[in-house]
């Protein structure tokens, strides 16, 4: 049972009374439209356990006359999507939670509750997520249409004396708060380390200090303006997000992209992946205190930033991906030259690895540290290199190929241990793979334009890409004027922070920075 239509047919039989099936055969997408919320948890459970689909995320939308809750599921081994749709009237205040059945939905529901003021009944932990309780009162719902952006600041009633919920109840147990501003050059996030002395028993992150309401800001903007937000909310992986946004707009407007633009997009996406992975490797070396290795890796990362800058004009690949293709063309020679330099940098990284894997002081600090088991990672719905280090597949380039990846033969890189060293090895192998793909593309570029005309029209679509940190999904709805009506991003870091607490159980305090570095999570990509 894998083709989505087959799944839809079975679901249609199973819940014939309460569910309407709609299949789009051109794109392998089917929608299950529920008429009652009662069966929602059962349908979600059935899709993830019996039909073996992966949960991608929840998109909440306030349409003109009703709510639209869209639960996204996708197949892991062949193209195919199932959208579960539930559209109650706007007067509805509560929806049954699916997280007891599908744990991966947990933080998606928390986000929707905080931003839309909808309660998910049966959810164990709502409130104080995106909007902190010591900064905003409950019942502020900024994503609602009625929310007045100007008045919001005037009516603040923050709850003073907010305390984190603690779990450990041992004699002498205490909570050690770290952040939001802490040592070195770090992103702002807070961690509550529950400890009884030497060892930390649990670590609970508190995020969204950097919440910039990117999705609210995008509403009513033109596609060109929103593209700037998509590119800049997580600038270290700017190209992947700009690409996913562009793919969504192109899907709404049914735009065809020239083969040359498709090839160059893959080239740039893999260049970004390579640079990002080199950056994470650098941070891992830095966290273990091996200063020569950290410096060597920093040289290599800077080399790649310079390579990106020299090739495209911007060190973080801004101003390239746009709906319709790319904003500028590259000569074949430029690409081949970039590949040569990238290969040199890769050689440098490989030399470094040969030294690292014989340095016991380095290995001791990575092996068996911050382990995420296959079972846990699977339940939390983790994505990206982090998940692949625990043996969890689902690389979108292979599972749901987009933008030309369907033509390539990409082997998914996986490891099984799920510890820090496994994550380092996945990063290395993916970096090698990225350079291989770049080399392949640079010799097979087709001639032609890189930018196609795009005729904006109303509609909504999902765009997705395998960003360097994992699967990213961008939902874009355009109104009849071609402006953004709703923009929602499900980012890999948002999903993967959910797995943070299972990697941080019973560890020694000095391992904390190492675990953080090997997870390679971005706060800005989560906070949006």
């Amino acid at each position: 049972m894998d083709y989505p239509a087959e799944i839809a047919a079975q679901a249609g039989q199973k819940w014939a009374q309460d569910l309407e099936v709609w299949v789009d055969r051109r794109k392998p997408v089917c929608e299950l439209r529920l008429s009652t919320s009662q069966i929602l948890p059962d349908v979600a459970r059935w899709l993830t356990t019996e039909a073996k689909l992966r949960f991608a995320g929840l998109i909440a939308e306030e349409r003109s006359d009703k709510w639209e809750f869209r639960y996204l599921f996708y197949l892991e081994h062949q193209p195919g999507w199932v959208h579960v749709l539930f559209c109650p009237p706007l007067s509805e205040k509560a929806v049954p939670s699916i997280s007891p059945a599908v744990y991966a939905a947990d933080q998606h529901e928390r986000e929707a509750e905080d931003l839309f003021g909808i309660t998910f009944t049966g959810h164990p932990k709502l409130g104080d997520f995106v909007l902190h309780d010591d900064s905003w009162q409950e019942a502020v719902a900024p994503m609602r249409r009625e929310f007045n952006q100007e008045a919001a600041l005037a009516e603040r009633v923050p709850r003073e004396g907010w305390r984190p919920r603690t779990i450990v109840e041992a004699p002498g147990a205490f909570v050690m708060p770290v952040g939001p501003v802490y040592g070195g050059v770090t992103e702002s996030a807070q961690f509550f380390l529950e400890t009884v002395g030497e060892d930390v028993i649990r670590a609970i992150p508190r995020l969204f200090y950097k919440y910039r309401a990117m999705e609210k800001v995008a509403e009513g903007k033109t596609v060109d303006e929103a593209l700037l937000l998509a590119e800049r909310f997580a600038a270290t992986t700017a190209f992947a997000h700009a690409l996913a946004f562009s793919l969504a707009v192109e899907a709404v407007c049914r735009t065809r992209i020239s083969p040359r633009a498709v090839g160059l997009r893959i080239f740039l996406a893999e260049l970004e992946r390579f640079r990002h992975h080199a950056g994470v490797i650098q941070e891992i070396c830095e966290s273990t205190g091996l200063s020569v290795a950290a410096s060597q890796a920093a040289i290599l990362e800077e080399d790649l930033l310079r390579l990106s800058g020299a090739l495209t004009g911007h060190r973080y690949l801004f101003g390239l991906a746009v709906p319709g293709g790319l904003m500028r063309d590259f000569k074949g020679g430029e690409c081949r030259e970039a590949v040569e330099q990238a290969e040199k940098t890769l050689q440098g990284l490989d030399d470094l690895f040969e030294m690292l894997r014989f340095s016991s002081s380095f290995l001791d600090r990575l092996e068996g540290v911050g382990v995420i088991s296959f079972q846990n990672g699977r339940e939390q719905g983790l994505v990206g290199p982090l998940a692949r280090a625990s043996g969890i597949g689902g690389d979108l380039r292979k599972a749901q190929p987009y933008c030309g990846y369907e033509r390539g033969q990409l082997d998914e890189v996986t490891e099984t241990e799920g510890d820090g060293f496994a994550r380092l090895r996945v990063l290395y192998r993916e970096a090698e793979q990225a350079v291989r793909v770049m080399a392949q593309i640079s010799t097979h570029l087709e001639a032609g334009d890189v930018l196609s005309q795009i005729a904006l029209q109303r509609g909504a679509a999902l765009g997705w890409a395998e960003a360097p940190r994992g699967a990213t999904f961008h939902w874009v709805r355009l109104n009849p004027d071609g402006k953004i009506e709703r923009y929602h991003v499900i980012s890999p870091s948002f999903v993967n922070w959910h797995g943070f607490h299972s990697a941080t159980e019973n560890f020694a305090f000095q391992d904390f920075p190492i675990i953080l570095a090997t997870l390679g999570l971005s706060v800005t990509e989560n906070d949006r």
Binding site: R212, V217, R315
Partner: protein, 254 residues
């Protein structure tokens, strides 16, 4: 362990010669738009319309670029038949209008300690700040050091437009620093709110929250631009103008 020592030695010196000499390696800076080329009035109007942040504007009927608003979207040079010029520079730092020079340069002439606060940054500015410590830029050779403690810091670097929930932590860091102290706003986000602010959750840059002394434009400013900013803060380099103007042709021809 000896292999690491020899690896370090055989790598040789990588550090840039800046500020003694210009750094000319390709890809060190995204550069900035350069309005000095000849453009017809229609072309000027087209460029002004293309700029999403209003960085390109007319000043006394001459085209000018406000570096404080440029977000490196490249829309003034890509996808148009009459592109604006482009300048491969990185010395962009200027003094803010509420800078307090009487306290410096005397107090800031020697080694300086920096505390950085991420107040809603997109990740790029922070990554570029991190790279200041890499062997290529090696800010320690110029007497600058990062410190985790605000109590030891002379300079507060702020990246990001200052989100609502970071406002209080940012204030606490500022208050904890001893005087005299300097505030540096790094990147378009910290200067004006960038593409996100001002909105109901973000300010229009650091100046809404704290008095800013030194401003470094760029989205993100490359490490060399930040290095220039630090040298300006220490009074070892003169500040640059953050507005580039078309030269007055009437003056030139006279």
């Amino acid at each position: 362990m000896s292999q690491w020592v020899s690896k370090g030695i055989f790598t040789g010196i990588k550090s840039t010669r800046y500020p003694q000499a210009d750094e000319l390696a390709p890809g060190v800076s995204p550069g900035m738009p350069d309005p000095s080329g000849p453009l017809s009035e229609a072309q000027q109007q087209d460029l002004i319309a293309r700029c999403p942040t209003g960085a390109i504007f007319l000043q006394d009927s001459r085209l000018a670029v406000n570096y404080r608003r440029c977000i490196h979207c490249f829309r003034c040079v890509r996808g148009t038949d009459s592109p604006l010029g482009w300048k491969k520079s990185y010395e962009w730092t200027g003094l803010s209008s509420d800078a307090r020079p009487p306290e410096w340069p005397k107090a800031f002439r020697r080694s300086l300690h920096i505390r950085i606060v991420d107040a809603g940054d997109c990740g790029a500015c922070l990554n570029e700040v991190k790279h200041l410590a890499n062997p290529y830029y090696n800010l320690h050779r110029l007497g600058f050091f990062f410190t985790p403690s605000p109590r030891k810091a002379d300079i507060l670097m702020v990246v990001g437009p200052v989100t609502d929930q970071m406002r209080r932590p940012l204030h606490e860091v500022y208050e904890a620093m001893p005087t005299p102290k300097l505030v540096m706003a790094i990147g378009e986000g910290a200067l004006s709110g960038g593409v996100f602010g001002p909105s109901f959750v973000t300010s229009a840059g650091v100046r809404d929250v704290l008095p800013v002394d030194v401003e470094i434009p760029g989205y993100p400013p490359p490490p060399l631009a930040i290095l220039h900013g630090l040298l300006v803060a220490a009074g070892r380099k003169p500040p640059a103008s953050m507005v580039a103007e078309q030269p007055d042709l009437a003056q030139v021809n006279r």
